[in-house]
Amino acid sequence: MSTNLINANPTVYNTKTFSREETEAELDDDIEDPIDADEVFDLIRSISDPEHPLTLEQLNVTQNQHINVNNSKNQILIEFTPTIPHCSMATLIGLCIRVRLLRSLPERYKVDIRVRQGTHQSEGAVNKQLNDKERVAAALENNHLLEVVNQCLATANLRGREVTSH
């Protein structure tokens, strides 16, 4: 492993702690199931970290208790935790979460993505950039950046399942 990684030895967390229970109501097609925090977490838990072959869940970057879904207001707030307070990948990780949700959630949701308070030294700047839709749009027209984002999102559909060996 190269030595110039931002965080060379991150703590890896057990991912078995969360599995989404299907309730009887969910199996009944006649009952509408609103999107909840668990479902949003399921969408983003398996996004890959930009520099480690690990998921955001394994690095504890995203946790379901840090996701808030308000269905009456169509608002979702996601707070994520960079692995280290000076992580220069924080904006990219936030962008990956945003793109994943842009592609998978109904259009009615307004999604706010923030780093958890006190977990990043440039918290204000990262939050501002991630929630400026014009800058997000411009970033996604940058082919190089889009490729990096797509790479991180390639594992997102695993939704918590283990990566099978290559």
Partner: protein, 345 residues
């Protein structure tokens, strides 16, 4: 109380629409989009304003999103600002009856966010994520000379707007400020910095006389700023012998998310705002309040979900008496809507 009535919905853009700009004299609306084109729209007939058609699509000149479109004061030319870091100048070819890109202005390091012509058409301003504002002189034969590169904003510059009568420019930025730029013997300088918003200022517009500005911000408020010239009757200090701008009214609690656009009607003085909370609002000045230094404004009409569940990116009043009651809005849904302000008795 006045209300807004939907006149028409214009469908055609293939991506989010960023801005709408009315022709200075004719009933033509230009809109620009993430689909890299500008579309021109006009009513299908002179007596039915509910049916509109797309009369032209300007494409091929920009490789990325067209973020901003502006008509020259004569309406014979158009400028387009793109994320591809260039500004396109378009001219109408009367014989071919189409628009042609006759010049491309280069120089900005990255995305251009806004373009605007001065009231005489002699100057053009552009601004960019590279934190700079450029002032261009319009010469003959589609030649544009860069007069000045203004680099005092510390962040991404979102919008530029010219004073309606004078060669005075205002710019709004991600650094939360608005700056006023003036010329002194070919040298452009920052004459004032307007501080007060607590997040990105997305949009600014002057009133008809040019002595007030309305601004809309990510802090979910609108602010109305008044200009105080040296030796003003109110005794407001003007330390550098320059006019200073002060917030005289803050409209908060009106929008639940970012205010992306404001438009101040030069015809009937109403202010329109558009937001990421999906609503359009119209504000009216309370005429009973005679204190010009603390005016009050009221929200008199609201359209919730004006573009369905989508953000509204721009609102724009028709510029003259002909259809002064028309308001155009554009959104992330790719739609363009024309509204009419109806005064009920």
């Amino acid at each position: 109380m006045p209300r807004l009535e939907l006149l028409a919905t214009l469908e055609g853009h293939q991506d989010r629409v960023w801005q709408a700009s009315w022709h200075p004299t004719k009933t033509i609306l230009a809109t620009c989009s993430g689909d890299k084109t500008v579309r021109l729209w006009t009513p299908a007939s002179h007596n039915d304003f509910t049916q509109w058609q797309c009369i032209d699509t300007l494409e091929g000149a920009h490789k990325r999103t067209v973020r901003s479109v502006a008509w020259s004061p004569t309406g014979n030319e158009m400028a387009t600002a793109s994320f591809d870091a260039t500004t396109g100048i378009w001219e109408h070819d009367a014989r071919e009856k189409d628009w042609e890109c006759v010049a491309t202005l280069e120089g900005h390091e990255n995305e251009i966010k806004s373009v605007a012509w001065s009231s005489t058409g002699a100057l053009l301003a552009t601004c960019s994520r590279d934190k700079s504002v450029w002032i261009w002189e319009v010469e003959s034969d589609n030649d544009f000379e860069c007069l000045s590169v203004l680099q005092e904003h510390t962040q991404d510059v979102k919008m530029v707007a010219w004073h309606p009568k004078q060669e005075v420019l205002a710019s709004a930025s991600y650094d939360d400020t608005i700056k006023i730029w003036k010329e002194d013997e070919d040298d452009w300088y920052c004459a004032d910095t307007l501080q007060g918003h607590s997040s990105t200022v997305w949009s600014i517009d002057f009133n008809a006389d040019g002595d007030h500005i309305v601004s809309g911000s990510d802090d979910q408020t609108l602010r109305i700023w008044k200009m105080y010239s040296p030796n003003n009757a109110e005794g407001i200090a003007t330390p550098n012998g320059e006019a200073v701008w002060k917030t005289v009214c803050t409209l908060s609690g009106m929008h639940d998310r970012c205010v992306y656009s404001v438009s101040w009607s030069k015809v009937h003085n109403h202010i329109a705002s558009a937001s990421g909370d999906n609503s359009l609002r119209i504000f009216e000045k309370d005429e009973e309040n005679l204190d010009g230094n603390a005016p009050t404004w009221s929200s008199v009409a609201t359209i919730n979900d004006a573009h369905g569940v989508h953000d509204i990116n721009c609102v724009s009043w028709f510029p003259n008496e002909t259809h002064g009651d028309w308001l155009a809005s554009v959104g992330d849904d790719g739609m363009v809507r024309i509204w009419r302000l109806v005064q009920d008795d």
